[in-house]
């Protein structure tokens, strides 16, 4: 959790400086440019300290070596609030073609029953298209209200994208909780 707290603490400090410049147009754009580099997003994921083997071992849709990835009970979905991207053209960690990966996300901590380890799961939304046809799942393990924004699943995580329409949600492993 420390990593998440640090990210959002940093974000809030940045906001404190820029958000007072209301309605000047540049404040938010400038903020997002800076913030985008710090948030959990598609382009940043390879740099995060997670076990790369999991990307290979468990991101193969159809093989489902560790459970039914189309079921809301699938272990990665322990705090997911949204429609499953891997049922509408995407994968566990890829948005469907033509959509945008969200620049920000909320994070759950889910236990993998196969190795009994707790993983940080980034629930990125995919944006800019009509709601996808994938199953709607709603779980809230470890979820907190917006005062812990990085753990909050009620909000539209496409909020920082140019296209803010909600399409679907992926569940990307980004780290070990105890790491």
């Amino acid at each position: 959790m420390a990593m998440i707290d640090t990210i959002f603490e940093w974000l809030d400090r940045g906001a404190e400086k820029s958000s007072r410049r209301i309605a000047q147009g540049t404040g938010r754009r400038s903020f997002l440019t800076k913030a985008g580099a710090a948030m959990l997003g598609g382009s940043l994921l390879p740099m995060l300290p997670f076990d790369r083997n999991f990307g290979q071992a468990f991101a193969q849709e159809g093989a489902s070596p560790d459970g039914d990835q189309t079921s809301c009970d699938y272990w990665r979905y322990c705090a997911l609030d949204g429609n499953l991207c891997n049922e509408c053209g995407g994968t566990l960690n890829q948005c469907p073609p033509g959509s945008e990966a969200s620049k920000v996300s909320w994070v759950g901590t889910c236990r993998n029953p196969n190795d009994e380890k707790d993983y940080l799961v980034s629930y990125n939304d995919c944006c800019g298209k009509a709601t996808c046809a994938g199953s709607f799942c709603f779980t809230s393990e470890g979820e907190r209200p917006g005062y812990r924004m990085g753990l909050y699943n009620d909000i539209n995580w496409c909020m920082a994208n140019d296209s803010k329409g909600y399409h679907c949600t992926v569940a990307v492993l980004v780290g070990l909780a105890d790491a």
Binding site: L11, D12, A15, T139, E141, G146, Y147, M149, M159, D162
Partner: protein
Amino acid sequence: MIKPKLLAASALCCATMLTFPLMAQEAEFVPETFSVKEAIEPGPNIFVGKQEWGGASSIEVYSADDLTNKGNMTAGGIIQLLVAPDGKTAYAQSTFMKRYTYGPIEQVLNVYDVNTLSITKEILLPGKAAMVAAYEPLLAQSADGKFVYVQNATPATSVTVVDVAAGSVVQEVATPGCWGIYPSLEGHSFSSICGDGTFASFDVGTDGAAAEKTISEKIFDADTDPIFIASDRIGSDLAFISYNGNVYLLSDTTGTITSTDKFSITEGQPEGWAPGGYNLLSYNDANGVLFVTMHAEAYDGSHKNASEEIWAYDVAGRKALYQSPAHGLISIKVTDGETPVLFGLNEEEGTVVRYAVDPDARFALKETGSGDGTGFATVVVAGP
């Protein structure tokens, strides 16, 4: 060849336009006139925020007596809603995505005249307003109604101060790490819950342009006893409830949040019951009774589960009163008065449900009716 359907339509058209006098003579037919009803039916109203993420949301208006739908006030997507205490004016924070899903958006504060279900004003917002499930503390007004406060999230959090009469934004107050808007009972301050367990309070002054900030001592632990953002006033205190069923009574009268008291509504009760839902608690002042949506067999992550019961709790006596079966509710609102009525939103059915409350039976609830068409709704407000 003229098709039969077209022929029939033509005949009807001609009949409508040319043959009224003849028909009136034969059957004394009086044609109806087509118009717009000027105002809603009189009587107390219940307001429900019907939230849409892909199209127009609305504030549905129901009769408090029998939940007949009186019409709606139409808004943009992903609304937050607010009803003024007099029940005559309503507000919605609306998101208009110009192409529904992609490209630029516009966010406004809609102002409505409830009696005519009409928009009277539209105030352009900075475009940072939170797009989130509806909660009462995410759109609030100052005690005098002069300012409306809008919760922002980019995801960095802030509050936009709107001068309603002027129809303009005054300023954006940075509220880093804090969430929810709890206006003071006097003046122009509001408080907000922060992730480190403190509350921040902001005094924006009579012109709305100031931002004097104070921070409380640590009030709660967001890891071990997180509080819901739903709140109600108990006397002059702000009341919150935690995932574990602890009620926090907080005072904001000094300008800085202080703890008044804390008690549990689950202590001494059967194991496993916990609060769950969205706007999940409501207080009846006349009788000093707090109502909360509760579910059994609670677990980590069940805090938004719909109710199995509604618990009535005597706040002054610190004792449980009654646990009424009430299935599927995620938000409630109890009316003021000696013999209150409680309204709840049923998540599964998409309905608003009316319950009579019996003060002579330890505030047990009895369902007396329901209204449908609420869709995805998490806010219900009872007008005067």
